[in-house]
């Protein structure tokens, strides 16, 4: 056996400016770290679990209040914590999708949306992306009609990412919901890049389910997340067990089937709670995040041969960049090949870029100070100039 006598301490966000697309919204607040230390044991939150013995009824720590508050904050009727967004997709798909049922998914969706349908033996039909990488209401309408023709029924469920992970583009959720609801198709709003990052109101959007990620966008430990829904759908997706032992007659109270009883304990949930006040506050300042993002994006755009593949102007801090015509040209002859870029950034204390990537890559500037954004912008420009690229 080789594992695990010595695990190095990780020092990434302590020592560098991190641009990692998936990491920056999940970095813990000091409050979350403190809570993790005090509540690190897994069953810690069960100390004061009393009848009816369910996680979301526990009052100390204030899990009950948190569940109420987070639903209200999202403009939804009810919310539950989940061990990661994918478990939210699984729970909703498990409620509405049976073998052979069609499900519509925006073609820019994360793989876990697809897998949650595969797990139910459902059949995925995609809503194509437009030439400018958007999922539209019009394409949604067409694809619902396609599904009706092919299966004789409307899709059982529709997944739409408000902001997708590939381009960080914002999609017309409101328009898509309007179309979907004309066919009574419930809509799952994938908010893993929005909930905890910018204001989200499910009622305004009209969605049936909101899935958010704690470790991606709510400054909470992994695995954590939120599944919120409307009063109408709550009885379905949060249905309580009807199971009864055939010999013993055992019943299991108000445990919820889809969530398998209590969903999240210890560090992840207390971290989620502890960061919540800071998260609620930070979403109100997303304009500042966009302004910082703009500083970096404009610097990249000014490097001759560089293209911003995401929609422009940017509506999110996650951005996809094509430097095939700039940094990748340098890589052709550089002695470090494609690694010159990540290496040069690393020397300047910037991390979170895939080593060796010089063609198409992503950055996320979320959580930076203005000074850090300016530093990162200057760093890219300086690396470009040093390597003979033209700055426009």
């Amino acid at each position: 056996m080789k594992c695990c006598d010595n695990i190095d301490a990780r020092m990434v966000d302590e020592t560098s400016i991190n641009l990692d697309p998936i990491q920056v919204g999940g970095r813990l607040t000091p409050e979350a770290m403190k809570a993790m230390i005090a509540w690190g044991d897994g069953y810690s939150v069960c100390d004061n679990c009393r009848k009816p013995f369910r996680l979301d009824y526990i009052q100390n720590p204030p899990l009950k209040d948190f569940h109420v508050d987070v639903a209200e904050w999202l403009g939804m009727a009810q919310a539950r914590t989940i061990p990661g967004a994918r478990r939210g997709f699984q729970q909703v798909a498990g409620t509405y999708v049976e073998k052979g049922d069609p499900v519509l998914i925006g073609a820019l969706a994360h793989y876990t949306s697809y897998l949650s349908v595969e797990l139910q033996k459902g059949i995925v039909r995609e809503i194509p992306k437009t030439a400018d990488n958007h999922i539209t209401a019009e394409d949604t309408a067409n694809r619902i009609e396609d599904v009706v023709r092919e299966f004789g029924i409307a899709p059982k469920l529709l997944f739409i990412d408000h902001v997708d992970y590939q381009f960080g583009n914002m999609h017309d959720v409101k328009g898509i919901v309007k179309v979907a609801h004309q066919y009574d198709v419930p809509v799952l709003y994938n908010g893993v890049y929005t909930v905890g990052i910018m204001p989200v109101n499910g009622k305004d959007l009209g969605v049936d389910f909101i899935v958010g990620s704690g470790h991606k966008s709510m400054a909470a430990p992994a695995p954590s997340g939120i599944l919120a829904t409307t009063e109408e759908r709550a009885d379905e997706v949060f249905r309580t067990t009807q199971m009864e032992g055939d010999i013993t007659g055992r019943k299991f109270g108000i445990k919820e089937v889809g969530i398998l009883g209590c969903s999240l304990m210890g560090a992840p949930i207390v971290g989620l709670l502890a960061s919540f006040p800071a998260v609620k506050a930070r979403v109100e300042h997303f304009d500042e995040e966009l302004a910082n993002s703009k500083i970096v994006v404009e610097a990249l755009r000014s490097i001759d041969g560089t293209k911003i593949l995401s929609e422009y102007p940017r509506k999110h801090t996650l951005t996809r960049v094509d430097t095939t015509g700039s940094f990748d040209q340098v890589a052709q002859t550089h002695k470090k090949r494609g690694f010159f870029l990540s290496s040069a950034l690393s020397k300047k204390g910037i991390t979170g870029i895939i080593p060796g990537a010089t063609k198409v890559w992503k950055i996320n500037t979320y959580g930076m100070t203005r000074k850090q954004a300016e530093y990162v912008a200057d760093a890219y420009l300086e690396i470009a100039e040093t390597n003979g690229l033209t700055i426009n």
Copy 2:
């Protein structure tokens, strides 16, 4: 909104001797706590994720080695981490159980076993417990025959707890497996009270699946756990995605369907790794744990009117006690009613008992020093004497 500006620090195991049946095997080692602090951000373990982009291939931290080592340690071919044991039940049930399929469950099983079948719309048939609270091979054989008669097929799956949560009794897994395999029924070994507590070898037992809990018995943060299986079953329960986008043709590599891709990140998995050397070492000293348990159990037995409801002599540190004839008699007239017992224990620095319980309750002595066990034994005797009970 009321939540969550001020979350008190939890100080239970730092200030008291804890008898909580579900908490004691999951308390973090110092190594796990250190790892949590350094790796608390959710996507921390993804820093060095390279092709083929799956959690169990990551080499730093040593997730890959851990997956190999933990399978070997359990005498199984392959293992994966899971966000809690219930997600292991769900994954196995999701692989083998379809709507209307019969599943056998030992009648002392945890509710999450039942719910994992309900989630698949399967039908539970119980293996009854004997008068002395055991699940036997003979009853298993009878119930398989019953299922064959009722459904025309053998059960699709059988759940058996090696040590159940109600009595801490040890059940004849080997005998049950022998019977089940005669009907080709795969057996899920619920090891949430054994894996990380005592030596467990799946090959010797003959089981098809082992589910262990990180936060219950492996000194790891919640939610965490292990799902291990044989080479034969690995292709089924760890099947990789076959999903393909109908428009985009997108495929998702070697992501596993049942686990929805990467299962566990950040604090829970690094904590699991960090505790693993200590956990491997501690299971070899389970005899010392039983000896400590005996000190407390014998003290309780010596209080006139007290019955040990678990099998005796004890084979596990989790024990169910009936004090209807002793402490509950005191409660009838005590000014604190049933709360006198938990209150008296609390004053002596002993915690983890349900406040007010004086009839039937459980304790788990796991992880105590001998001195602490003697102290707890003396505490119970002293409280009994002070309240006029007879010590035999």
